[in-house]
């Protein structure tokens, strides 16, 4: 159940493994601050198989967001190895293989839903790849047909987050990083978007790394749940999730799910 056994088997051989979407080995991130050096991540190791869905669960300050930013080349690792889609994080980002969905939708207020989804096609010209998806199709995929010409202020919070997901998918990324994307939504919307995200995941075949502070969301979405502890941010345990698929919200009432959630809670409380 622990990651430790997995990584010892896996490593020692720095072979680039194409079947792995993400491989972190002993990644440490430190920031200098006014109150001295803060260790955001300490010797974090993890692997996500290609096409996998890993949820990151932990208290605030455990470095979940930092981890996403290391994988997407927004923050450099102080030490350790970072391998994304068989190459460096920077190369994967430059190849447009990484999509990122932020905590707030971060839409550009002066662009319509459709124009927001198309933004990635208009910037960073030289690194653009051929295989871009159709923006209207993506809006349909996230259930926003008929809203193409609406401005962000005309959309609800949930709809804005759907636009952000469509935008992250426009370059057909192999890896989708999501930083508490549904954290600000009410529970009913969140449930619906969770189901839809699983559908999008199956449809696109992308690998997803999803940060959340909700136990239920983590258990419902992930094939694996990685529990993290804070100060310094480190891996506590990686729990495989053996739940039938396709998953529906009703799954949460099954004894199997309740037992899993209880286990996650126990580990979290011990952090």
């Amino acid at each position: 159940m622990s990651i430790m056994s997995q990584t010892t088997v896996l490593d020692r051989t720095p072979v680039r493994d194409e079947s792995l979407a993400v491989r972190l080995q002993d990644v440490t991130v430190r920031f200098p601050t006014e109150r001295g050096v803060v260790t955001a991540l300490e010797r974090v190791s993890l692997t996500i198989p290609s096409g996998g869905f890993l949820t990151l669960l932990g208290p605030s300050g455990c470095g979940k967001s930092t981890l996403l930013r290391v994988v997407s080349d927004l923050i450099p690792a102080t030490s350790g190895q970072v391998e994304v889609l068989g190459t460096t994080a920077a190369a994967a980002r430059a190849r447009r293989d990484i999509g990122f969905v932020f905590q707030d939708a971060s839409l550009l207020a002066w662009r319509t839903a459709l124009e927001n989804v198309q933004l990635p096609l208009e910037v960073g010209g030289r690194s653009k790849r051929g295989g871009a998806r159709d923006a209207r199709e993506l809006l349909a995929l996230v259930g926003l047909t008929g809203w193409e010409n609406a401005y962000p202020h005309e959309l609800s919070g949930g709809m804005r987050q759907r636009v952000a997901i469509a935008r992250a998918l426009i370059n057909d990324p192999k890896l989708l990083l999501m930083d508490e994307p549904f954290g600000a939504l009410d529970e009913i919307k969140r449930d619906r978007l969770n189901e839809e995200l699983l559908r999008v995941w199956e449809e696109t075949g992308a690998t997803i790394l999803f940060v959340t502070h909700s136990i239920y969301e983590a258990a419902f979405l992930g094939q694996q749940v990685m529990l993290m502890a804070a100060r310094p941010g480190r891996v506590r345990e990686i729990v495989p999730v053996d739940l039938p698929s396709p998953r529906r919200v009703a799954l949460r009432e099954t004894p199997q799910f309740i037992a899993l959630a209880a286990h996650l809670r126990t580990v979290l409380e011990a952090c």
Binding site: R96, F100, W110, R111, V123, G124, R126, G146
Partner: protein, 282 residues
């Protein structure tokens, strides 16, 4: 808001009572809209009538306070001369507006990319801003002469500071997640500037431009007070010295009508360019 109806089946469920309530609501909204327009107009008319009556009843001499009808007569009789004097003032104000705001936008852009420039120059800009127009206007007339240039410079300077402050804040009003998004997309610095920073700054810029549209006219008029033979400012001074109060008031009416028109043009541009802005559409 023109949104596609997602739940069109709801429409059939609306009963006649609902339709009636809806009609009542629309009527109330129309009435409220008319009240907003008509009440200020009625107040202005009432004030003018009171003023006219006051001048008549208390037999106030025209050079102390002219009756509104006397001002209107002057406005009508001397309209050509008044407009002839408005032209140089308008040119000075608009030229000053363009130069002052362009300079402010350029400097704000520099500030955002060169912190050192901001640290070095911003205190100087604040210092200049604390000097009253009336104090630096004569200096500029001495420096630039009695022509158009000095007035344009005064109008430009008076526009400059509010736009500099607002534009700097506007260009910085980009969220850290939006910046991260652009970095993940490998956006170039110029793409970040034109597609993100500049667009984000527009609401801030337009609120500064609206202020500047009024102050640039003030700047031009103040410049004309110091030394000019034509223009609204010069006319104000002449009318005052000649105790020609109806002309003085008529000049003020023409000057403020121009200010209001200038402001209206900028407001229209704002609505045109910021259709997406919640504050504007709400």
């Amino acid at each position: 808001m023109s949104m596609p109806a997602l739940s069109s089946h709801d429409a059939s469920e609306i009963t006649s009572a609902d339709a009636e309530a809806q009609a009542g609501f629309a009527a109330a909204a129309r009435l409220a809209a008319w009240r907003r327009r008509l009440l200020p107009l009625a107040a202005v008319i009432a004030l003018l009538v009171l003023w006219e009556l006051g001048v008549m009843i208390f037999k106030i001499r025209p050079f102390i306070a002219p009756a509104p009808t006397a001002v209107a007569m002057t406005l009508y009789g001397k309209l050509g001369m008044l407009l002839g004097n408005l032209l140089p003032t308008a040119i000075e104000a608009v030229a000053g507006f363009l130069i002052g705001n362009s300079a402010a936008i350029l400097l704000a852009t520099t500030f955002v990319y060169q912190r050192t420039a901001e640290e070095a120059l911003f205190p100087i800009a604040v210092m200049f801003h604390t000097i009253p127009v009336m104090a630096y206007a004569p200096i500029l007339v001495l420096l630039l002469g009695n022509g158009l240039e000095a007035k344009v410079a005064i109008a430009a300077l008076i526009c400059f500071f509010p736009t500099l402050v607002n534009m700097t804040r506007g260009l910085r009003s980009v969220s850290s997640q939006q910046m991260e998004l652009m970095r993940i997309l490998s956006a170039t610095p110029s793409e970040i500037f034109f597609k993100l920073r500049l667009k984000s700054s527009l609401p801030y810029l337009f609120s500064a431009l609206k202020i500047a549209s009024a102050t640039s006219v003030i700047g031009a008029i103040v410049g004309e007070w110091i030394g000019a033979t034509t223009g609204i400012g010069a006319l104000i001074i002449q009318a005052t010295y000649n105790f020609d109060s109806p002309l003085l008031y008529a000049t003020i009416v023409v000057g403020s009508a121009f200010s209001a028109a200038f402001f209206a043009v900028i407001s229209w541009l704002e609505r045109y360019f910021l259709k997406w802005n919640v504050a504007q559409t709400a």
